[in-house]
């Protein structure tokens, strides 16, 4: 749940998530890293923001920014959050590092009225080509770890993730493909193109009523 250190400008995927959040919303950022997105949301959208973060150093950075962040683990701690207390729950670049992605997504859908998930795409053509030609587990810019020390224990393709949203009974409200240059463009969740061409994507989900 340790997201990379923020640059002065918000990372493009975080900016895309921020655009999905309504002003004044109550927001839980699961795996909030050093709090860059939360702080941006608090400052620019006046949200009531909360975070969960596994790294103590990052929690300290958040606390020093005046953010309310609980040191904890998405896999074990979401169960303690009551239903529907948050307008939006954010899981950014984290689901692939959880032990039980399905349980985590179930909890997120329960806790928040909307759930924003961003994830790397293991179906990206560079990943596919790397495995095909190199015969070894791919290492890309988005996924720069060797197989034996990667925190990303549950990698999936965008199509795989869309399948999981269906299993969890979620409806996709919006989906945006993340492009190589960092920009985003809207996508249909079941389109084959982004699953081949986008290094990652962002989904805004809600529980089907």
């Amino acid at each position: 749940m340790n997201t990379p250190v923020s640059t002065p400008r918000l990372r493009p995927d975080l900016a895309a998530i921020a655009a999905m959040i309504r002003p004044g919303a109550r927001v839980l950022d699961v795996g909030c890293g050093d709090g860059a997105l939360l702080e941006h949301l608090v400052r620019t959208k006046n949200v009531d923001g909360r975070g969960i973060e596994i790294s103590q150093q990052n929690v300290n950075a958040c606390v020093a920014r005046g953010l309310a962040v609980v040191q904890g683990d998405a896999d074990s701690d979401l169960v303690d959050y009551p239903a529907d207390v948050f307008d939006a729950v954010i899981l950014s670049q984290t689901i692939q590092a959880t032990e039980k992605p399905r349980a985590v997504l179930d909890h997120l859908l329960r806790i928040g009225r909307r759930t924003a998930v961003s994830l790397p795409n293991f179906g990206h053509w560079k990943v596919r080509l790397s495995l095909l030609t190199g015969g070894r587990m791919p290492q890309t810019r988005a996924l720069g770890y060797t197989w034996f020390d990667t925190p990303n224990i549950h990698l999936c393709t965008l199509a795989d993730f869309v399948d999981l949203t269906k299993i969890c009974g979620a409806q996709t409200v919006e989906a945006h493909a993340l492009r190589e240059d960092g920009s985003t463009r809207p996508m249909r969740p079941d389109a084959w193109g982004p699953n081949l061409l986008a290094p990652g994507a962002i989904f805004l989900l809600k529980k089907k009523s």
């Binding site: 103590q56 300290n60 953010l67 309310a68 609980v70 040191q71």
Partner: protein, 386 residues
């Protein structure tokens, strides 16, 4: 109205600041149904109160602590008990903030406690002293804060029993405290915690010099019982790993086992020393009363078992700090409080600091804790325009 505080034991360090005391003629109503009248609160202050009285931070001490948080103890001559945290340039910076620390009621460093004279009898209270609770202690602190003309505390900070008081402050006076920092504590005393305290109390009461609590009249002192109580409790403040690292099976001033019961091991003489130095500064009846106050603490109790309800609608910001090797108030108990606060959407931060030093880690030099407190207090001060 400010008086000179009177302590149970004589002042030995005459250049030390003995602080202040204030006696209230208005009764202090207690949870047990009785009230204390009059009652005295002895306290220390550090730094200067600003013009709009918005920079005050209250520090709450632990079971055997006192008001000398950042300056020499006038009885023992030892440095303040939290000089790593409180002082000029420290995380709680006395160059910026007005720091208050008061001896709890029931204590023996100048605030009204069982060793003080009962105005009804003219004799020391002894066991006639009413049982006080953590909430009563906080009530007395609130009276002091009011007396100092402070409407809102910027923060209340404390560890262990002091942490319990910070939680009680947030529950009892949410409008009067902007932020609280509960460290190494819990919202209730566990069965194991109560059990250890009962061992200590029984040790005191089993000492023939305790005289059913009237040892002051008898001219005795239950030193052995109090020392044993302290020795047992002290073990719970450390971790198994820290004890092993510090002492192992090392022998004390000898090359071989003595085949007698005099202390062979360093850990034994260390505990003896802890017990003895405690007796020199603490009152046995105070120990009984204060441990009982901790046992009775359960913030959820007055809210039908729902801890979250204690904090519903609270505007106070929380920063909860726990230590991985603390088995007296383990991280899971601290986290319980964080989850309860989350359930009512109160702004809460929680950190679990890696340390092998056990419960007492909060009193020691723990850079991660210092960074957390510094960052949190600064962000609160910034938000409040202090």
């Amino acid at each position: 109205m400010s008086e000179t505080p009177r302590f149970l034991r004589p002042v030995t360090v005459h250049e030390a600041d003995i602080g202040h005391a204030v006696t209230f003629a208005e009764p202090l109503p207690l949870d047990c149904g009785r009230s204390l009248v009059p009652f005295t609160v002895a306290y220390m202050t550090y730094g200067a109160l600003n013009a709009d009285k918005s920079n005050a931070i209250l520090i709450c001490h632990a079971l055997t602590g006192d008001q000398f948080v950042a300056s020499a103890h006038p009885v023992t001559g030892k440095p303040g008990w939290w000089t790593t945290m409180v002082g000029p340039g420290r995380p709680i910076d006395t160059n910026r903030f007005f720091v208050i620390c008061a001896n709890v009621i029931g204590g023996c460093m100048g605030s009204t406690g069982p060793s003080e004279t009962d105005p009804a009898t003219g004799k020391p209270y002894g066991l006639n002293f009413p049982l006080v609770t953590i909430r009563d202690m906080v009530r007395a602190q609130k009276r002091l804060v009011d007396h100092l003309g402070i409407k809102t505390l910027l923060a209340v900070v404390g560890g262990s029993m002091g942490g319990m008081q910070t939680l009680q402050w947030a529950a009892s006076y949410p409008q009067s405290v902007r932020a609280v920092v509960p460290i190494a504590c819990a919202a209730r005393h566990s069965a194991q915690n109560i059990a250890f305290h009962e061992v200590g109390r029984q040790a005191i009461m089993a000492d023939p010099d305790w005289k059913n609590g009237e040892y002051q009249l008898a001219g005795t002192r239950p030193a052995k019982g109090l020392a044993v109580a302290r020795m047992a409790a002290h073990i719970t403040y450390l971790s198994e790993m820290a004890l092993q690292r510090k002492f192992g099976r090392a022998l004390q001033n000898r090359a071989a086992l003595s085949f007698q019961f005099a202390p062979d091991f360093q850990i034994e003489s260390y505990l003896h020393h802890q017990g003895q130095s405690f007796v020199d500064r603490f009152d046995a009846n105070s120990y009984l009363y204060i441990t009982r106050a901790m046992d009775y603490f359960d913030l959820a109790e007055e809210h039908a078992g729902q801890l979250a309800e204690a904090f519903r609608g609270s505007p106070t910001r929380f920063c909860i700090i726990s230590f991985t090797s603390d088995w007296l108030f383990p991280p899971v108990e601290n986290k319980r409080v964080a989850h309860a606060l989350n359930a009512v959407a109160a702004p809460v931060s929680f950190v679990e600091i890696k340390s092998d030093k056990g419960h007492d880690a909060f009193l020691l030099d723990e850079p991660e804790m210092d960074d957390t407190v510094r960052g949190f207090i600064n962000s609160v001060a910034l938000a409040e325009g202090v």
